[in-house]
Symmetry: C2
Subunit: 325 residues, 2 copies
């Protein structure tokens, strides 16, 4: 089975890892391949280095190197370089990069500097983390840079735009967002293989990633939404909400900014032109959708460990088998 | 007293540290200032980051952060990033950078990327290491990039040029050098303050740095040699050789490449158009020079610790007081 998923960071990575676990442990599904299309809209250049938070979280999680407690960054991490940069007075200091993590950004930046595309760089990084050997392919959504900015009050009666990471990491999404501006998205072509992966998939999955700033950004890449509408594969999503609240992250704040209710039904509504199935938490079991089959997961929609994420992914796959493409 | 010194890496840094110690502990000399003009001809771009080995060795040594045993790099260093880069297959792997050291290269590269000149970047780095507060100023020899290359046999009957660091670090200078090519040196202007520091000094010192690839490169920067010839200050050098052998490094191999004998007198000959005094080891006590006063140091010319380096620097300063400028 060829599975394609569109993913953001932590939620997406945990879901894909669970999916791979489910495939590995389900007779007949072991040979399935998973293509992950990663959001690169929250990429940022820090200290002159290109940082791709969602891609890195996917790499580390799928490659067995993630800091489990955080959900992002590297296990067994140290922060000596960041302390050096602080001693030198280098800005910004609100985004903490670990030493091992710096290794990834240095490798990426060097390769980009040598002229490799983000797709080529991501493939090299994925090789080290063993993704291809484990039946997984990781594609950035686009080889063109896209940077999501957040329009907030400037404190003087006007508005200003700050980088998504500044809003998300520094302000913990606590500063009300008026809207998101994905700089570069209008010029971003889908990276090589992205549209084909959606069109030629047997199943397309939407993990419980942020519907606005992760999946929503990927959907804005030219051709992606059309490919999802046109694919013969069933498209099944997993709700990122439980009782209308995000399990982690700040999806509610993001939904508020775009004027969408923080409910499983409203999130599904963002996908209504291509969504075939929608898996929700028991607490949101009253969700009904006009164009998609809704199923309620047998237990909380919590990816508390690999097995739990695997059960959710397995349910999503079975749901895909019951809906038309 | 305004002292200006032209320095390479380890030998230069230890000498300047000893000089500062001598000034700090000699009544009447405490307020003296030291301007160090650093060789940047062995700079190299590694992993997309700009590395300035001599400048960094000076910063770390004068700032109290150097790895004493090595003479370069940071004390209490770790090598986690380099291991990451190796895991990613990033080249080259023959030049080992520590994690704390990476912090310097990242800060430098970010600032250069923002448009600061090497002089401005060096001043920022020096600030963190407390050099200005301690009466020291560190200037790169030039703001234009200069990279020394070494012409060696290519193993197929021809020749090829490799970066100086590859020859020095990877091959430990064991591959015979036909000649050195300082790429960019013909277009390199002296950095702001360099020529003034030489012209307006009360004393100019040449530490026991490599006469070919450290001091020799600085002397090739436009205007430097003329400033040394023209300054009213006495110019006093300290021999880098003991019994014709370098204390550390590969000065003998470098001298051989340019067809100069590995003797204290022959090294002084490289400076004969501006040298006023020359301090040699007792083992080279028979050195005689036509244009400069030779003195023999009272003990081996070994900078085994700060005090020993201070005594050498003190002797050089006293020698300067006995020769015409």
């Amino acid at each position: 089975m060829r599975i394609t998923a569109i993913a953001g960071g932590v939620g997406g990575a945990r879901f894909i890892r669970g999916l791979r676990h489910h495939l590995d442990t389900t007779p007949g599904l072991e040979d399935s391949t998973v293509t992950v299309v990663a959001n690169t809209g929250d990429d940022i250049t820090l200290f002159g280095l290109r940082v791709c938070p969602d891609v890195d979280t996917l790499l580390y999680t799928l490659g067995g190197g993630v800091h489990e407690g955080q959900g992002w960054g590297r296990a067994d991490e140290t922060h000596r370089i960041q302390a050096e940069l602080a001693a030198y007075g280098v800005q910004p200091q609100w985004f903490s990069l670990g030493d091992l993590d710096f290794g990834t950004h240095i490798a990426r930046s060097q390769w980009l500097g040598l002229g490799l595309t983000p797709s080529e760089v991501t493939a090299r990084l994925a090789e080290r983390w063993g993704l291809p050997a484990h039946g997984m392919r990781l594609l950035p959504m686009s080889d063109q840079p896209v940077e999501t900015h957040v329009v907030v009050d400037d404190g003087e009666g006007g508005q200003r735009a700050i980088h998504f990471q500044e809003w998300w990491v520094r302000h913990q999404a606590a500063v009300p967002a008026h809207r998101f501006v994905a700089a570069g998205l209008d010029r971003a072509a889908a990276a090589p293989g992205v549209l084909e992966a959606i069109r030629e998939a047997d199943v397309v999955l939407l993990p419980p990633s942020n519907p606005v700033v992760s999946i929503g950004i990927v959907l804005g890449v030219s051709g992606v939404r059309d490919a999802l509408r046109g694919t013969n594969a069933p498209v099944v999503g997993v709700s990122p909400l439980i009782s209308g609240q995000p399990v982690r992250g700040h999806a509610d704040a993001c939904l508020r900014a775009i004027g969408v209710e923080s409910t499983a039904a409203a999130v599904a509504g963002l996908y209504e032109d291509f969504l075939d199935g929608w898996l929700v938490d028991p607490a949101d079991g009253d969700t009904a959708l006009p164009g998609a089959k809704v199923e309620v997961f047998d237990g909380p929609l919590l990816m508390s460990d690999v097995e739990a994420a695997g059960r959710i992914a397995g349910h999503a796959l079975r749901l895909a088998g019951t809906v038309p493409g």
